[in-house]
């Protein structure tokens, strides 16, 4: 077997989930039931045969019972098989999505890197031109204020480009998570305090109800802070005046889930598969780079987890960050 892609083989990674959802898993977990399925019909057939020889009345009853039993168990088997198939399809889609995002991320980082140098030169030349202009003004006493304005505008647009390329490079930066015990309740509360004031301006209620006995999570604290803060900010942008945002969390043996729910405008179904794509945005140009959610997706994957979205137009949206509680230390 070839070595699996390390990014996907973490516990909770898409590839592992995929293998868990396939037929191999059904066989492993339901071995006894499956054997019974194979063995019960012939055994019952023999019984029916025996009963027929003894008395035809009993035989009819037994045959009906056998038929019902076989029908019920077959139905059970079909249900669990189709559930496994559905889970497999969903995970397959998730795997394709994350591979696509990784590819797009790499491509855009490459472009950003290439564009950075010319942008730096444009910035330098603009500074130089501004300097020359000042000299010329002194020497000739002429009024070059329109040229100066134009140079200033070039400079500000160059800064805007630089901002985007920096974000892109940051977006594609590979982060090896550093694991610490994190008090998620406190982390959420800390980040919520940053959002609170803006929320109260918009008359938005930001509630957090995290269980008191929420265990500590071994994960990368600053990365999780970024994800939580980005999701809460997104929610704030999605709701109108008087909106509600709630943050909850729950943990089982294997995973911890942090949910950010808003009652905002929701995401139309045709946009749902695109929201994690870099540069996908529904905001007017210049008001968002469309990198926030794809960054979240990257960060959560880097932490060995995944991020899910459910949304209904007009009702609101829930983002669920699902993180493994026992992340294997990177070798």
């Amino acid at each position: 077997m070839s070595a699996p892609n390390p990014g996907d083989s973490r516990p909770g990674g898409a590839r592992e989930l995929l293998s868990r959802a396939t037929g191999a898993r059904v066989w492993r977990e339901h071995r006894l039931v499956l054997w019974l399925h194979f063995l019960v019909p012939p055994v019952l057939a023999i019984l029916v045969e025996a009963a027929t020889l003894a008395s035809p009345g009993h035989a009819t009853l037994l045959a009906v019972a056998v038929f019902l039993l076989a029908a019920c168990s077959a139905r059970g088997l079909m249900t669990s098989l189709s559930a496994a198939e559905e889970a497999r399809n969903a995970l397959n889609a998730q795997l394709i999505q994350s591979q696509k995002l990784a590819a797009v991320g790499e491509l855009s980082a490459g472009i950003a890197h290439e564009i950075n140098n010319p942008i730096a030169i444009i910035a330098q030349e603009t500074e130089w031109a501004t300097h020359l202009l000042t000299e010329a003004e002194k020497a000739t006493g002429g009024d070059f204020s329109e040229v100066r304005d134009s140079l200033r505008e070039i400079r500000s647009q160059v800064d805007r480009c630089k901002n985007i390329t920096h974000k892109l490079l940051d977006f594609a930066r590979k982060r090896e998570p550093v694991l610490q015990d994190v008090d998620v309740t406190r982390l959420v509360d800390d980040m919520a305090r940053l959002v609170d004031k803006e929320a109260s301006y918009k008359d938005v209620t930001l509630s957090r109800s995290l269980p008191e006995d929420l265990p500590k999570l071994r994960t990368d604290a600053p990365l999780l802070r970024q994800v939580v803060l980005n999701l809460m900010t997104n929610a704030l942008h999605a709701v109108g005046k008087g909106g509600m945002i709630s943050v909850t969390a729950q943990a089982d043996e294997e995973f911890m889930e942090i949910r950010v729910t808003d009652n905002g405008h929701g995401i139309p179904p045709e946009n749902l598969d695109k929201i994690f794509n870099p540069f996908f945005t529904t905001k007017p140009p210049g008001q968002g780079t469309g990198l926030g959610l794809s960054l979240c997706h990257n960060l959560v994957q880097g932490m060995g987890g995944n991020i899910l979205v459910e949304s209904q137009v007009g009702r609101g949206t829930t983002f669920t960050v699902r993180l493994p509680r026992r992340l294997s230390q990177p070798a």
């Binding site: 940051d170 940053l194 609170d196 004031k197 803006e198 980005n230």
Partner: protein, 131 residues
């Protein structure tokens, strides 16, 4: 655990009180009154944790943060913000700050965050030396 702290803030009174309180806990603090001074100090010596005021005259705290991350990627930065500014907080966290503390800073909270940031740096350093 020994932690090398650099405190960057233009308010002299605040710096003085904080330095004293850290000293009582046997934690040495170097202070800088501006971003430029902080960056100069970072050129000369390695710090574990930088406590950085976001709002300073001269070089903006976020710009200082960006340069610290470029210069000393292992050094962890905790931002100090005078008011809960969402924009500065977002930018700071996205630029790779470890955490933030609201001013007026609760000392125990700050100390706890400094310890955690230093722990992260130590983990990062040992991960790097392993290859």
């Amino acid at each position: 655990m020994d932690i090398n702290i650099l405190l960057v803030d233009d308010e002299a009174d605040f710096v003085e009180t904080m330095t004293k309180r850290f000293r009582i806990r046997k934690l040495p603090v170097t202070s800088a009154g501006s971003g430029a001074e902080a960056l100069k100090l970072l050129d000369q010596q390695d710090f574990d944790v930088v406590i950085l005021d976001v709002r300073m005259p001269g070089m903006d705290g976020l710009e200082v943060l960006r340069q610290i991350r470029a210069k000393r990627p292992l050094t962890e930065v905790i931002m100090l913000t005078g008011h809960a500014s969402l924009d500065a907080g977002m930018q700071g966290m996205n630029l790779g700050a470890y955490d933030y503390v609201l001013k007026p800073a609760d000392f125990d909270e700050l100390l706890d965050k400094v310890r955690r940031a230093a722990e992260r740096k130590a983990l990062n350093v040992s991960a790097q030396s392993r290859g």
